[in-house]
């Protein structure tokens, strides 16, 4: 099953919106409660004071995910460095995506961005699993300068989703600023799915793309992670093992 990490600044009152547990009901969810401390404060010192309160809040959240029909667990981390913690826990939990919780009610239509150098196959496979057999429509979105090429690739992705029985539409934004066009398109959707992109100078200066979109678009943003080197290696080993075990079968 596919796992989604939901990082929350738990002691600062961050929580999940009502629609998110329902949206993620088809997924395994790990709720990551984190608390970022100033360097003056040893993490252990904060743990002694806050862990009971934080774990109580996390247990409630896990119950909310389970009540919506999903399966969920939680972890609590005290840290000086949010980024490092989210990356580490995502790797350890083998999470395929992480969710930036926004405000949403029930989700009827997803906006799926394929813009940029992202792993389209991973994103479409994730969306297919996320939607499952539910009545959630999908709009594929692509911002590009190359209209014929863009049209072709978005159609291919739409076909592969339609084959799996999804209700798919497409939106192609040609020669528009990609981020603004995406946020514009998001107004008629309840949640956004996008791919993770390698850090660039732009993301260094302006903050991570997904977080900027989340800030603009209000609704939840689910970011499909790039396949880590470890995961790729395990998958190949797994395939090797399958092959090796075949003669015995």
């Amino acid at each position: 099953m596919t796992r989604v990490l939901v990082p929350l600044a738990i002691l600062e009152g961050e929580s999940v919106s009502t629609g998110l547990p329902t949206l993620l009901a088809t997924m395994d969810v790990t709720v990551l409660g984190y608390h970022v401390l100033p360097e003056q404060t040893p993490p252990d010192q904060a743990r002694l004071q806050y862990e009971d309160r934080a774990n109580a809040a996390l247990t409630d959240l896990v119950e909310a995910f389970e009540a919506a029909g999903g399966s969920a667990d939680h972890r609590l981390v005290f840290t000086h460095d949010r980024e490092r913690t989210v990356d580490r826990v995502a790797d350890e939990a083998a999470a395929d995506a992480y969710a930036i919780t926004g405000a949403t009610g029930s989700v009827d239509r997803l906006l799926v961005s394929l813009t940029g150098d992202v792993a389209v196959d991973r994103i479409t496979a994730f969306v297919a699993e996320l939607v499952g057999d539910r009545e959630i429509g999908v709009t594929l979105f692509l911002a590009t300068d190359d209209e014929p090429g863009g049209r072709e690739s978005i159609a291919a992705a739409a076909d592969s989703l339609a084959e799996r029985g999804l209700d798919v539409e497409t939106t192609l934004a040609v020669d528009e600023p990609p981020l603004e066009a995406l946020v514009e398109a998001a107004t008629s959707h309840d949640a956004i799915v996008m791919g993770e992109r390698s850090p660039s100078l732009r993301s260094f200066l302006l903050g991570e793309e997904a977080e900027r979109i989340a800030a603009e678009a209000v609704g939840p943003v689910i970011v499909v992670r790039e396949e880590s080197a470890d995961a790729a290696a395990t998958r190949e080993q797994g395939m090797d093992a399958d092959r090796a075990s075949q003669p015995e079968d």
Binding site: E39, P43, A46, E51, T79, H80
Partner: protein, 473 residues
């Protein structure tokens, strides 16, 4: 890991040590219900060590030390570096076996028992308070010199007021500041190292007569060997920072590798710089004249080699270095208080974190208050020696704790780094630490002993029913 139920006893207020079993990995400490991220890398560890130390050795001591021991003050700094290394190696072993916040206190309370632990833990608090006060007075001198370089001569009367103001500022900023200053600290240390390397290389070449005018040769140890040793005891304050790395051991990534490298590495780096600085400073002026310049003698050395720009660079460096030393020490003090109060040897209220800023304001206040009182005395040499005294006791006992742990060899004791030359190095480390105390001024020794007796008295009153030996999370 040993049975947590062996963490025993209660203090007068009925509080018990808060100890839970943990699992340590390179990236995280895992407790029953939470994880604690390790976020400080090797660079960060070195920056804490070097940043704490460099302020005193280069920017405050050269004039004072040269006045006492002549050019042989370079030897005093070398002796200090040697003693610090003898302790840094055993400290590294203990830190990799117990990568916990609290440093020396933690190892000694677990290795030797509650009484030595309490005395060391509380003495370390006061030792850091004395050291911070010393750095702040140094800062005061540099602040006055900065004003003088800017054309506002205010005289030495403002040294203490400026030091007090800055000390209060550091405390308040640490309570209210939630910005992460670690990156700034790394930058400051890198900048300081660059200034010093350029300055010392040029000055060193000049002193050796390779460039510029050859300087007049001077008798190396005009006052004999005893002043070299007493000066070593005085300037040992410039080496206290490596143990501050151990106070954040619980937050260092890959502690088995990074802790020894950061501790030993920072001692080696600053040791070389100190010896070079004395060499260059006495080469520029001769020790007699150097000593008349007092705490900010290096400014005149900078002026000698590079003219006004050199003086400005050194004044600026001195300000940064004493600031970074004071700030790093305030942080270590608050961690030292936390480690002791977690074990119920101080009221657990002391490690309370305030909701508004997420900072340990009680512990920071317990650091800042006494620091300001001591700054007001303005006694640079006394502050430095008492700080060294209290740290050296810790260092000596730390070596003893290593020997005790190696002999008892409890099942939980499994360090990643083992001290080379066991048992010679820890035995020498203990002897050298205690011997250096013997060369201090009588007043410093009396103040130091008084503080230790007071901490033992506190233990007898407050925490004598607490047991900590062998209690490991």
């Amino acid at each position: 890991m040993s049975d947590p139920s062996s963490a025993g006893g209660t203090n007068v207020a009925g509080e018990s040590p808060r100890v839970e079993p943990t699992i340590e990995t390179d990236e995280v400490t895992i407790t029953d219900d939470a994880e604690l991220e390790r976020t400080i890398g090797l660079t960060g560890g070195l920056a804490i060590g070097i940043g704490t130390m460099i302020g005193a050795g280069i920017f405050v001591f050269p004039g004072l030390a040269a006045g006492r021991a002549g050019p042989a003050a370079a030897g005093s700094f070398a002796i200090g570096a040697f003693v610090a290394l003898l302790v840094a190696l055993p400290a590294s072993e203990l830190a990799t076996a117990m990568p916990k916040s609290g440093g020396g206190y933690y190892y000694i309370s677990r290795g030797l028992g509650t009484l030595p632990g309490a005395v060391v833990g509380l003495s370390l608090w006061f030792g850091l308070v004395f050291a911070t006060a010393f750095y702040l007075v140094g800062f005061g001198y540099y602040a006055v010199d900065t004003l003088a370089e800017l054309g506002v001569p205010v005289g030495d009367g403002l040294v203490i007021p400026l030091a007090l103001l800055f000390g209060a500022g550091v405390t308040v900023l640490n309570v209210t500041g939630t910005e992460n200053a670690a990156k700034l600290q790394n930058g400051i240390v890198a900048l300081l190292l660059s200034i010093l390397i350029v300055f010392l290389s040029y000055g060193g070449l000049d002193t050796l007569g390779i460039i510029g005018e050859p300087s007049a040769p001077e008798q190396f140890a005009p006052f004999g060997t005893t002043p070299v040793l007493t000066t070593a005891a005085l300037v040992f304050t410039s080496y206290l920072g490596f143990a501050q790395v151990a106070t954040v051991a619980g937050e260092i990534r890959d502690p088995g590798r990074n802790l020894p490298l950061a501790m030993v590495g920072s001692v080696l780096v600053v040791g070389v710089l100190y010896v070079a600085a004395i060499f260059v400073a006495t080469g520029a002026f001769g020790s007699d004249r150097l000593s008349t310049f007092g705490e900010t003698a290096m400014v005149e050395v900078g002026r000698h080699y590079f003219g006004p720009a050199g003086a400005v660079a050194i004044v600026f460096g001195g300000l940064l270095a004493t600031m970074s030393s004071a700030n790093a020490s305030v942080l270590s003090t608050s961690r030292a208080i936390y480690a002791v109060s977690k074990d119920a040897l101080l009221p657990q209220r002391a490690s309370h974190i305030n909701l508004r800023y997420g900072t340990p304001h009680v512990a920071l206040g317990m650091a800042g208050g006494p620091i300001l009182v001591l700054v007001a005395t303005g006694r640079v040499e006394l502050l430095a020696e008492v700080a060294s005294f209290l740290h050296l006791v810790t260092y000596g006992l730390l070596c003893v704790a290593l020997l005790a742990l190696r002999r008892a060899d409890p099942s939980w004791y499994d360090p990643d780094f083992r001290v080379p030359g066991y048992p010679v190095v820890p035995i020498l480390g203990a002897l050298a630490s205690f011997a250096l105390i013997g060369f201090m001024q009588r007043t410093s020794q009396l103040v130091g002993i008084g503080i230790m007796l007071a901490t033992a008295g506190w233990y007898a009153y407050y925490g004598r029913d607490v047991t900590l030996k062998g209690v490991v999370e």
